[in-house]
């Protein structure tokens, strides 16, 4: 190819790079957003309890130990799917799970918990404002908070057993040291 000829390769080369990018992009879920709060202190909040419960859930509850914070709602179908995983996790007693009942109706939430089991050490009823402070944009979402009250990890979407085994528990173990 003569000297002038290489310029004609540019469109093909550009396209090649783009195609590689698209291929890599197929593996990315556009709906999962990274949280800017990672390694930042958890927001300060105090949520009222569900009706009938004594204590709500506030940022004080997160100090001194590694915790899981799970945003859920009775109107959320994937939350129902992940609930057995949370129950199993609570059963092991390894790490406390706190619940944010996100934009829910109290009676429906209580019925939901009664039906599916309560893995939460504490539950707070949120009208959405505290969720905004946590950067919650959908349910379910689960956060790992370390001993100093810093957010260290965010999982968007329902937790599976594989997630718990491969990601959550190892990180919890590391944070406890």
């Amino acid at each position: 190819m003569n000297k002038r000829g290489w310029i004609f390769l540019i469109p093909a080369a550009v396209f090649g790079l783009l195609a590689a990018g698209f291929y890599a992009g197929l593996g990315i879920d556009p709906n999962v957003l990274p949280s800017p709060l990672i390694d930042h202190p958890a927001p300060r909040f105090a949520l009222p309890p569900l009706q009938g419960e004594a204590q709500g859930f506030s940022s004080a509850d997160l100090k001194g130990h590694v915790s899981l914070v799970n945003a859920f709602a009775s109107w959320c179908a994937p939350c129902r799917a992940e609930h057995p995983v949370l129950n199993a996790l609570a059963h092991t007693g390894r790490v406390p799970t706190f619940g944010i009942d996100y934009k829910d109706k109290e009676e429906l939430a209580r019925a939901w918990i009664a039906e599916l089991g309560n893995p939460y050490t504490r539950i707070g009823a949120d009208d959405g404002r505290v969720g905004i402070d946590w950067g919650v944009y959908g349910v379910p979402e689960t956060f790992i908070v370390d001993k100093d009250g810093r957010i260290r990890y965010k999982h968007v979407g329902p937790l599976t057993e594989a997630d718990v085994e491969r990601t959550i528990m190892p990180l919890v173990a590391r944070l406890e040291r």
Partner: protein, 663 residues
């Protein structure tokens, strides 16, 4: 039974496409007329079988045959017949079948209307066309087959998304696809030219009608989609720079550049390589659009249910067609002979500027649409690109283009004088200044942007009028002579007039709607009245009505001005039980200069409803202007020059016969 026939017809079409892709190419290489002759009947047969498959699917929808999984997932027996039929393309599988149907339709059209094409060129064009058909037919049969059965057959279907049940939207996809897929013919012509190693002015003349037809359809399709968004709400406005909207806008921009660039090839035999590249890029952008919508890589209101497996397949198709074409381009384009000379200041030079600006505009939209994806892949960082980006980057590119659109037609071919061109634009300068001053005077200094927008529109419109007036010698000859000239002008001249004038009207419409929209959001009870933009809207009653597949809260409103009643308006809020979804029926009253737009929202429980009232000045001009642009394209399409060859031959034959008879 009909479903089986449809399925089988699709497989047959694939087989024919494979033959059509191979045999004529071999024939063209060997200059074997018999083998080349396979192209036309194969294209017609391919169309026949794809049509059988398409109408078989349509039939299944019409009779609500829920044994087909596709019908069960996307239709219900309660739908009105129109929406059953148009539901065919409301989903991924059906719309892919529509895609190959239109592909085969264009192939058949080329087979039928190409008497004046050299056989080798026609054979190659149809062969490449068939290659595209093979890829997409395989895609359908392997990953997106609409003829898959569902057992046990459900008694009722899942229904159509209520927001899609609309007359305007029903025809938006076919129109859009006529555009997208129509550009495949330009692509095929480009590939054929690369294989032959030759681009001559005749090639440009053959390519133009197909490109024009596709461009017209795409213009109408985009305008329809935009108009639909406007009166259906949910999107808020008429253009949101959504990735899928952008995916249809990019081929339009590049297609417009292609139309103009082909003129230079025809006139001056120059810009050949660039025009070939544009033809490849236009269709590649159509393919890219197909990929973006159906692969799940981008978030969009438009996207079909995402399936990465399908995404990989379409990416493979895209890589094969676009990658293959660009590699062929790199190999063969350097051998295309350079062409005629022209000065930078000339009509050709203006068309080069047009191409530069349109290509940059398309690249801007491209960068904005794909940057989030590519940044995520490369740097694992997520950003989002919304309308503010496009407003700041796209608009500044359009402004010089609009200025140049007025000057370009004033500059002669080959070598021109810019000052002389500006001299001919005296009327346009006056009109621009007048528009700016009147706008500022009428609406105050804060609407500087609006004054600029209307000034630009006036500039372009006045220049376009000046150009056509000069050509028909308006004011220089008596009226009958002028009219005679007007009628005998080449249609392409009128085509340009309508297209450029239409653009000016669109710019005016965009300016008006962006600058002077008025809004009132209130909580209203029956019996109350509200003022907006000098109109009074009285809410008389809100009642429950039932449609074929929905129930609705329907408001009875009266639109009045100065006490006089102008129109009744009936906005609705509909609920569709089968799909468990809602849709809004907006009420619009238009006098073609402005729209009054009323929406009823949810009740607040105390008998009051949220009402949204808008006054949108000049918005109808956006769609009227787009219609004028499409009309311009259609008029150009009927130009005599696109039907070269056949009439001359016949005349020669008649003359020869008469000569023979005389001897």
């Amino acid at each position: 039974m009909i479903d089986e026939i449809g399925h089988f017809a699709l497989v047959l079409a694939l087989c024919i496409a494979v033959l059509q892709a191979v045999v004529p190419l071999v024939g063209a290489a060997r200059n074997d007329a018999a083998l080349m002759g396979w192209a036309r009947p194969a294209a017609l047969a391919q169309f026949l079988f794809v049509a059988i498959a398409f109408f078989a699917l349509m039939h299944a929808y019409a009779v609500s045959d829920f044994s087909l999984a596709n019908v069960a997932a996307n239709s219900s027996s309660m739908k009105p017949l129109l929406y059953k039929l148009t539901g065919v393309w409301s989903n991924h599988e059906g719309s892919m079948l529509l895609w190959v149907f239109i592909l085969a339709l264009f192939g058949a059209a080329v087979a039928l209307f190409s008497h004046n094409l050299p056989p080798a060129l026609r054979a190659r064009v149809l062969a490449v066309q068939a290659m595209i058909g093979v890829g997409f037919l395989l895609f359908i049969l392997l990953t997106s087959n609409p003829f898959l059965r569902l057992w046990p057959t459900p008694a009722e279907g899942a229904g159509l998304n209520p927001i899609l049940e609309d007359r305007g939207l029903a025809f938006h996809p076919p129109c859009l696809y006529l555009g997208y897929v129509g550009f495949s013919i330009s692509f095929c012509f480009a590939i054929a030219a690369l294989i032959e190693g030759r681009v001559d002015p005749a090639w440009a003349r053959w390519v133009r009608p197909w490109t024009l037809a596709a461009w017209c359809a795409l213009t109408i399709g985009i305008a329809m989609g935009s108009w639909w968004s406007y009166y259906t709400l949910g999107w808020g406005g008429w253009w949101f720079w959504d990735p899928v909207e952008n995916a249809s806008f990019m081929p339009w921009l590049v297609g417009t550049a292609l139309l103009h660039s082909a003129v230079v090839v025809e006139k001056r035999e120059a810009l050949k390589t660039w025009t070939i590249l544009l033809a490849i890029i236009t269709f590649s952008l159509s393919l890219l659009g197909t990929f973006l919508v159906r692969s799940g890589v981008l978030t969009s209101v438009h996207a079909f249910a995402s399936d990465p497996m399908r995404g990989v397949f379409i990416l493979l198709l895209l890589s094969f067609y676009t990658g293959g074409a660009l590699i062929l381009f790199a190999w063969r384009a350097p051998q295309l002979a350079g062409g005629g000379l022209f000065a930078p200041i000339s009509r050709e030079g203006a068309l080069v500027l047009n191409n530069l600006l349109l290509a940059t505009a398309a690249a801007t939209v491209f960068i904005g649409t794909l940057y989030p994806l590519l940044l995520d892949v490369v740097a694992h960082q997520k950003v989002s690109v919304g309308p503010p980006f496009y407003t700041m980057t796209f608009v500044p590119i359009m402004i010089p283009l609009l200025v140049a659109m007025a000057v370009g037609p004033m500059v002669p071919w080959k070598r021109g004088d810019l000052l002389a061109a500006f001299g001919r634009l005296k009327f346009a300068f006056l009109a621009t200044a007048a528009a700016a001053l009147v706008t500022l005077a009428a609406t105050g200094a804060r609407s500087l942007g609006a004054a600029c927008g209307l000034a630009l529109a006036a500039w372009l419109l006045a220049a376009t009028l000046t150009e056509i007036a000069e050509r028909v010698h308006l004011f220089r000859e008596p009226l009958p002579a002028v009219l005679r000239r007007a009628l005998s002008l080449p249609r392409a001249g009128w085509g340009m007039f309508f297209a450029h004038a239409g653009m000016a009207v669109v710019i005016a419409g965009i300016t008006g709607s962006t600058a002077w929209t008025e809004e009132r959001i209130v909580s209203g009870r029956p019996g109350q009245s509200f003022e907006i933009a000098g109109y009074t809207i009285a809410l008389d009653r809100v009642s429950e009505v039932a449609g074929p597949d929905y129930t609705a809260a329907r408001a009875d409103m009266r639109l009045m001005r100065s006490g006089r009643e102008i129109a009744a308006m009936h906005p609705e809020k509909r609920f569709y039980p089968v799909e468990n979804g809602a849709a809004t029926g907006v009420a619009i009253h238009t006098n073609l200069l402005a729209d009054v737009y009323a929406v009823i929202g949810d009740p607040d429980g105390t008998g009051a409803y949220t009402l949204r009232l808008y006054y949108n000045p000049l918005v109808p001009w956006i769609w009227l202007g787009a219609a004028a642009m499409a009309l311009g394209g259609l008029v150009s399409l009927t130009d005599r020059r696109h039907r070269i060859g056949a009439p001359v031959r016949r005349r020669r034959g008649a003359v020869a016969a008469r000569v023979q008879a005389a001897e």
